[in-house]
């Protein structure tokens, strides 16, 4: 049985779609799980869902990153039931700034930058984006920026943790036969 070149390409495309859908689903699951954890400061989350976004980025490129990030935010809000609520706006603004910074980091510095570096940029962006919207729309009082240093520190650490986890995931996925021929699929 011969496999023509076209078939192989289509196969890869389908495989990519399936995996990205899986990543989004996993990201939503992690996001929901995190929301259930007891937490004195509900906005401050480790952001485990980002692990999947990072994986998508390093395996499939920038477009995949946006897909998984935005997909996770939208579906996650549907699942948690806070679509279009202030919580959703915070999640969206944080996610947007984070994904922007991650895109910038990846495009400008790959292959020198690794998942940890990108993750840290994303985490800092996320926290800043959230504070920005919280300041503009909810609190409207400059004293909210007093929390910035603590949030940034937390983001730095959680960014590193997520990055390391993502690195481990990426490594083991790359070795897996289901994801070979990735070199052709990574776009800028």
């Amino acid at each position: 049985m011969t496999c023509s070149a076209v078939d192989q390409q289509q196969l890869d495309l389908v495989r990519r779609r399936v995996f990205l859908a899986l990543f989004i689903a996993l990201a939503v699951a992690l996001h929901t799980f995190e929301a259930l954890l007891p937490n004195p400061l509900p906005w401050l989350r480790i952001g485990l869902a980002n692990i999947l976004a990072l994986t998508a980025l390093f395996l499939y490129g920038v477009r995949a990153l946006w897909l998984v990030s935005l997909g996770r935010i939208l579906v996650g809000s549907l699942v948690l039931g806070n679509l279009f609520s202030p919580g959703f706006l915070l999640s969206l603004s944080g996610g947007l700034l984070a994904t922007l910074l991650m895109t910038f980091g990846f495009r400008s510095f790959a292959p020198r930058i690794g998942p940890v570096g990108v993750s840290v940029l994303g985490a800092l962006g996320h926290v800043t984006g959230q504070l920005l919207i919280a300041w503009l729309l909810i609190v409207r009082h400059s004293s909210i920026w007093m929390m910035l240093p603590f949030f940034l520190l937390f983001a730095l650490i959680s960014g590193m943790v997520n990055g390391i986890a993502a690195d481990m995931l990426i490594e083991s996925l790359r070795k897996h036969p289901a994801l070979d021929r990735l070199q052709d699929m990574v776009e800028r």
């Binding site: 930058i113 690794g114 940890v116 570096g117 840290v120 940029l121 004293s143 730095l156 390391i164």
Partner: protein
């Protein structure tokens, strides 16, 4: 997983980036944020607000708690604890509170003293009737 393993997962660039960002974060800790002058003293016990008073009127207040009475002095735009029935008197040692957000507390007697202030601060009421 050995300790050095996780470091291996950072590329040389990553390490420099993280160090740089850590520096940035450190700097934000040191930035002075506008210390606004306080306007009100809010004394609470647990969730309950016992007493609110303006900072610009000198007075001495006795606040009741499970251990007894904690005495506060509001003078010269600040508030301090004069006496308290707690064993270690940490609250007295906390000194004076005068800026918005400053906090004094006598934990054993469950007394918390907060400074609120600023014209646009909605600190001490839930709704405004006007």
């Amino acid at each position: 997983m050995r300790r050095s393993d996780w470091l291996q997962r950072l590329t040389p660039f990553d390490r420099k980036l993280v160090l740089l960002l850590a520096l940035v974060v450190l700097v934000t800790f040191l930035l002075p944020f506008r210390q606004e002058k306080g306007q009100r003293v809010v004394v609470s016990s647990g969730e309950k607000i016992l007493f609110v008073a303006p900072l610009d009127q000198d007075r001495v207040v006795d606040v009741p708690g499970p251990l007894g009475s904690t005495r506060l002095q509001i003078a010269g735009g600040g508030v301090r604890v004069l006496s308290s029935p707690c064993p270690k008197k940490i609250c007295i040692g906390m000194g004076e509170a005068r800026n918005r957000g400053d906090l004094l507390a006598c934990v054993p007697n469950r007394v918390v003293i907060r400074i609120e202030g600023g014209a646009d601060q909605k600190g001490s009421y839930d709704l405004l009737s006007r």
